[in-house]
């Protein structure tokens, strides 16, 4: 009887594509939680050992969700003659970005644990804090832009993340020419690099909203190209 009820509930449930999209949103939510948490650990607002278990459980969940979505993509494409192939290809690509965000958050967590000094003074603290705040703000916008297929918001995010990546590159350039102690230099360099990568992956996710499948990860913010793309279909 229980199985029958479950079968009926599955029968009445949403289609697989909708479920995959919802699951992808959960991946981004988990990634956002991980980033906020690791930022708190980095700036000693939270203790690493307090959040450790939940943090790594979330990462495991993200990996499991990626596998789940990929499996469902194969099922959807195999079982439906009218399968939404572009949507599936987009999902196949963006789940990788969401999974990589989780991995880079873990890398940041490792830096936060290994770097024993505090991030409370020096010329790099403020830029790092600003980068952290900017990236934190982009997460929820990215989720919204993807869920609603909002090209305007997605394009704004792409431009913002381009700025973030440029700031990260500038920081690394500065670090190379600075005379910081090794521990500090390595920690700040790695953090800049990881922040840059997280921003890039968020940008990749947004590129799937503004461009065709074959141009995912390569969205341009050049004005000429934007109007050409916006012009299509208008």
């Amino acid at each position: 009887m229980g199985m029958l009820r479950e079968l009926i509930s599955a029968w009445r449930g949403r289609d697989l594509l909708s479920e995959m999209l919802t699951e992808f949103q959960h991946m981004l939510e988990d990634g956002e939680w991980m980033f906020k948490t690791v930022g708190a650990v980095l700036h000693r607002e939270e203790r690493a050992d307090t959040v450790h278990n939940e943090f790594f459980a979330r990462d495991k969940q993200i990996n499991s969700q990626e596998t789940d979505i990929r499996r469902r993509i194969v099922e959807h494409l195999s079982l439906r003659r009218d399968a939404d192939v572009p949507a599936c290809l987009v999902l196949m690509s963006v789940v990788k970005d969401a999974e990589r965000i989780g991995d880079f958050c873990k890398n940041i967590f490792e830096v936060a644990c290994l770097y024993t000094m505090n991030f409370d003074h020096g010329p790099y603290i403020t830029p790092l804090k600003e980068l952290r705040a900017e990236i934190e703000g982009i997460f929820s916008k990215t989720r919204g832009a993807f869920a609603e297929a909002d090209q305007d918001v997605a394009m704004t995010i792409i431009k913002d993340t381009k700025q973030i990546r440029r700031h990260c590159d500038e920081m690394i350039e500065q670090l190379i020419n600075d005379q910081l102690p090794t521990q500090k230099a390595v920690a700040y360099t790695l953090l800049s690099r990881y922040f840059k990568r997280i921003a890039a992956h968020l940008s990749n996710i947004c590129s799937s909203v503004v461009g065709p499948v074959h141009e995912i990860d390569h969205a341009s913010t050049g004005e000429g190209k934007i109007s050409k793309r916006y012009g299509a279909g208008e």
Binding site: L16, L17, A87, G211, P212, A232, G233
Partner: protein, 398 residues
């Protein structure tokens, strides 16, 4: 789906392709089922017109059960539908053109012939060895199960027929028919069907005989061709419409219960096949999942057994049509449909515990075919076409 280059690939896009609204699909199914019943009745009418002499000759030509078995295999492999083969058998048995005993091996053969479709589907993976190995093994296990079941129950049926006058499946099916139906008044309860089917059938017959002045023989020939074409088109249509109605839900159910355990797999295989009215569709659906490694042959096996049972529903539908017409032999249509069901149920009862035989056999042969794809070609051409043709011809000669 994007309409033009440059369009965004929004995951929110509606699924491509146009679908009929639900109510229209439902109406289409009702119309198609009605046409199916008309087709069955037309076929029954045509065999009736051919007379007792034709019936005697047909029964004589199928009196060799081995010939009957391979007729079932070959006919089903050609038309790719065991539902159609068994429906024709139902009609012929109920019309007296085929004896119940001679129809049993044909129905067994139809079970074998229907698995050609999913084997053909597995060939799309032939370019990638490991994918092909998995897909081909999962596809041919259906065929091997059917052959194993025939190897057990065909001799059993033949032996019991010779010893007791009736085969085992025949005897049990007749008993169940008595249990389910009032054999003295088989048309009782089906009269409404008679009233909506007979006028169309009678009008067709009258048009050919009185309108065009055709003889009984020519009328029968035209009706056979018309009914065959009608049944092929209608069964194809029913499968298409039902599949499009349910495939969105199907993917969710299969995702959630994807072969969680053998019981669920069996039940899902049976229900899905009963809904879409085609075991070929149901078993072919999982071939790409096998190739991709999402499923393995041991998970798919009970699903395949369930599909075999679910497909018997079409024969019962055909039996409804012939019983509506009444007649002395009307209930025998139901009986042969019951034989089909019992054959598959018995097969599952024996070859689920002994599943190692068809499964390991399929894996072994798939490994061979993965290394040398010509073995896949041998399997398809040999099992479904060359062997049946050869046996039928040799049996006729000797």
């Amino acid at each position: 789906m994007r309409d033009a280059p440059g369009d965004v690939a929004s995951p929110k896009s509606d699924p491509p392709g146009r679908r009929l609204p639900g109510w229209l699909s439902g109406l289409a199914v009702v119309v198609l089922v009605y046409l199916f019943l008309v087709g069955i009745k037309l076929m029954g009418e045509s065999f009736g017109l051919l007379g007792d002499d034709f019936a005697r000759r047909l029964i004589a030509s199928t009196s060799n059960p081995v010939v009957g078995l391979f007729i079932g295999v070959l006919a089903t492999a050609i038309i790719r539908s065991s539902s159609l083969t068994t429906s024709i058998a139902v009609t012929m048995v109920a019309g007296g053109s085929l004896s119940l005993a001679n129809a049993v091996p044909i129905v067994m053969g139809a079970n074998i012939g229907t698995s050609v479709t999913n084997v053909l589907v597995s060939l799309i993976h032939v370019g990638r060895r490991d994918e092909f190995r998995r897909a081909f093994a999962g596809a041919i296990v259906h065929d091997l199960f059917n052959w194993c079941t025939v190897l057990v129950f065909f001799p059993l049926e033949w032996t019991t027929h010779h010893v007791t006058g009736r085969g085992y499946l025949e005897r049990v099916s007749l008993w169940l028919t008595d249990l389910c139906l009032d054999v003295d008044k088989p048309a009782a309860g089906f009269k409404p069907l008679k009233h909506i089917i007979d006028p169309v059938v009678n009008a067709c017959t009258r048009f050919l005989k009185e309108g065009l002045g055709l003889s009984d023989g020519w009328t029968a020939t035209v009706l056979i061709i018309v009914s065959l074409v009608l049944l092929i088109v209608v069964l194809w249509g029913i499968t298409k419409v039902l599949r499009s109605l349910v495939e969105g839900k199907l993917e969710t159910v299969l995702d959630r219960y994807l072969f969680r355990n053998a019981c669920i797999a069996y039940f899902v295989g049976m229900m899905v096949t009963a809904i879409v009215q085609s075991s070929s569709v149901t078993t072919s659906l999982v071939v790409p999942l096998l190739g991709a490694g999402l499923l393995n042959i041991r998970q798919v096996y009970p699903y395949t057994l369930g599909a075999n049972v679910g497909t018997t529903i079409t024969a019962f539908l055909a039996a409804l049509a012939v019983m509506a017409g009444g007649g002395k032999l009307a209930t025998l249509g139901f009986t042969i449909a019951m034989v089909h069901l019992l054959f598959n149920v018995h097969g599952a009862l024996v070859f689920y515990p002994l599943r190692v035989i068809p499964i390991e056999g399929a894996i072994w042969y798939a490994n061979l075919a993965a290394e040398r794809p010509r073995y896949a070609a041998f399997f398809i051409l040999g099992m479904f076409f060359a062997l049946p043709t050869l046996v039928i011809l040799l049996m006729q000669l000797f």
